[in-house]
């Protein structure tokens, strides 16, 4: 009888354990293929989470790895409008940061995606400027998109993606 009880107990632990497990690939959960037409229009920031890369690397407690800073800047004034050309391809954008920081350093120009079927990066540039910036696509829902802005150390000797990332922001945008 005791054996049966202990087996039942183990089974219950396993069931609860699996029920509480996070999805195996959370970054893919709910992800959709981005079509340029999906992005057309104005997107407004509803939330910005800042992540400390050093705390993440060090495996520090979750509460010191990230922080909601939406109201600190204030980021809820930050909007981007994506326009398409006559062929439905990415053309111009307008970025309105309000009083929040604009890490792209551009407010208008052209935008592009790295892959028309499965976009992972949105690149912003201006014909009149050498500046360019990018958001990394983190997650897409029906009317919501989460984009990551990485902040890397200015090491002139390394290509952009190999420069040390010291923090990143995740912007949650909702379509207007």
């Amino acid at each position: 009888m005791k054996k049966i009880q202990s087996y039942l107990c183990m089974l219950a632990i396993l069931v609860v354990g699996f029920a509480c497990s996070p999805p195996k690939y959370p970054e893919l959960e709910g992800q959709l293929t981005i079509k340029t037409d999906f992005l057309r229009g104005t997107w407004k920031t509803t939330k910005v989470i800042q992540y400390d890369q050093e705390a993440i690397d060090n495996g520090f407690p979750k509460e010191v790895q990230s922080m909601d800073i939406t109201s600190s800047a204030p980021f809820n004034e930050y909007t981007i409008t994506f326009d398409l050309d006559a062929q439905g391809k990415p053309s111009t954008y307008t970025l309105t940061p309000g009083q929040s920081p604009n890490f792209l350093a551009l407010t208008s120009g052209n935008w592009a995606i790295d892959n028309p079927v499965f976009a992972t990066k949105l690149t912003f540039f201006s014909p009149n400027s050498t500046l360019a910036g990018k958001f990394i696509v983190k997650r897409v829902d029906s009317n919501r998109i989460i984009l990551r802005m990485e902040r890397r150390d200015a090491d002139a000797n390394k290509p952009v993606d190999e420069k040390t990332m010291f923090l990143y922001y995740e912007y949650e945008f909702v379509k207007q």
Binding site: Y51, G59, S72, R152
Partner: protein
């Protein structure tokens, strides 16, 4: 009774996390990994006491009135920025004479001493054919100049360290590293404050100065202005914890190409600048 025991265990754990570790080592003449050292973490303070009696060149150096220096590194990753030159060690790495042939140095942490992330230390371990948790701190001890025949140095010594442990302190910034364009948050925990008068303040204010690259500094609000500037008041989070958000470029009203190298921060009383928690500092990153 169980509760008391639990609290006691928790207190002992916290004390252990904050305790300084002392590592005694007899310097070898050849390169060695010394496994039998006390366990300490990447972010923990560690005092190294090194016996140089087995290295005749260093014994002679000491006998001649010379000092002994540490030369630190993580093999396959990085050297301590304060090492200096092989023939002219940096004074920051000068050890303290404990007794004849015994020299010590206290590192605030391996992380701070080598200036590398734990991620890099793990990569170095893997690069050396170990598992990523088998991270090692390397060093040797030497004369001011290591040159000579034989060289005035010990063999390379490696000792193990564990992953970092987060230790709450009275002051921290979030994130730990940021640039002048980023949002930064200063957290202040009055419960951990050493200054008895500062510990009792019901309002906490910020006083900040920025050192600029190329020299000069910016003080947007003088010490006398702090009391009359409500925006410098830290937000009370309850439980004697406070927070202050700022974007350095905006807070210091940077113009043109001005760039901040370091921010010096003092948490203080609203009206009396002499009541404060001591100056802290943040070295800023330069974002691409």
């Amino acid at each position: 009774m169980k509760k008391i025991l639990y609290i006691f265990v928790c207190i002992m754990f916290v004390m252990n996390v904050n305790a300084q570790i002392v590592v005694n080592i007899t310097a070898p003449s050849n390169n060695q990994f010394i496994a039998s050292t006390p366990s300490f973490s990447f972010t923990q303070s560690v005092k190294l006491i090194v016996d140089i009696s087995g290295i005749p060149a260093l014994v002679a150096e000491e006998a001649a009135g010379g000092n002994i220096y540490i030369w630190g590194f993580i093999q396959g990753c990085c050297g301590a920025p304060t090492n200096g030159d092989w023939t002219n060690s940096n004074e920051a790495n000068r050890m303290t004479k404990e007794s004849t042939n015994k020299w010590s140095i206290t590192l605030s942490s391996v992380a701070a001493f080598v200036g590398a992330s734990y991620d890099k230390a793990k990569q170095a371990a893997v690069g050396a054919g170990r598992s990523e948790t088998e991270t090692r701190f390397g060093f040797l001890v030497k004369g001011k100049s290591g040159a000579g025949s034989p060289e005035k140095k010990s063999g390379d010594i490696e000792i193990a360290f564990t992953g970092p442990i987060f230790v709450a302190t009275e002051y921290r910034t979030f994130p730990a590293n940021y640039s002048q364009e980023d949002v930064a948050t200063v957290f202040y925990d009055q419960n951990l404050e050493d200054n008895a008068t500062m510990k009792t303040q019901t309002e906490v204010y910020m006083y900040m100065e920025a050192d600029l690259v190329g020299g000069g500094s910016i003080i947007p609000f003088t010490s006398a202005q702090v009391a009359t500037t409500p925006s410098l008041k830290m937000t009370d989070l309850g439980g004697k914890k406070y927070r202050f958000n700022f974007i350095p470029a905006k807070f210091f009203n940077l113009t043109g190409t001005q760039r901040i190298s370091k921010i010096r921060i003092t948490m203080r009383s609203k009206t009396d600048a002499n009541i404060n928690g001591g100056e802290k500092s943040s070295t800023l990153f330069r974002a691409q």
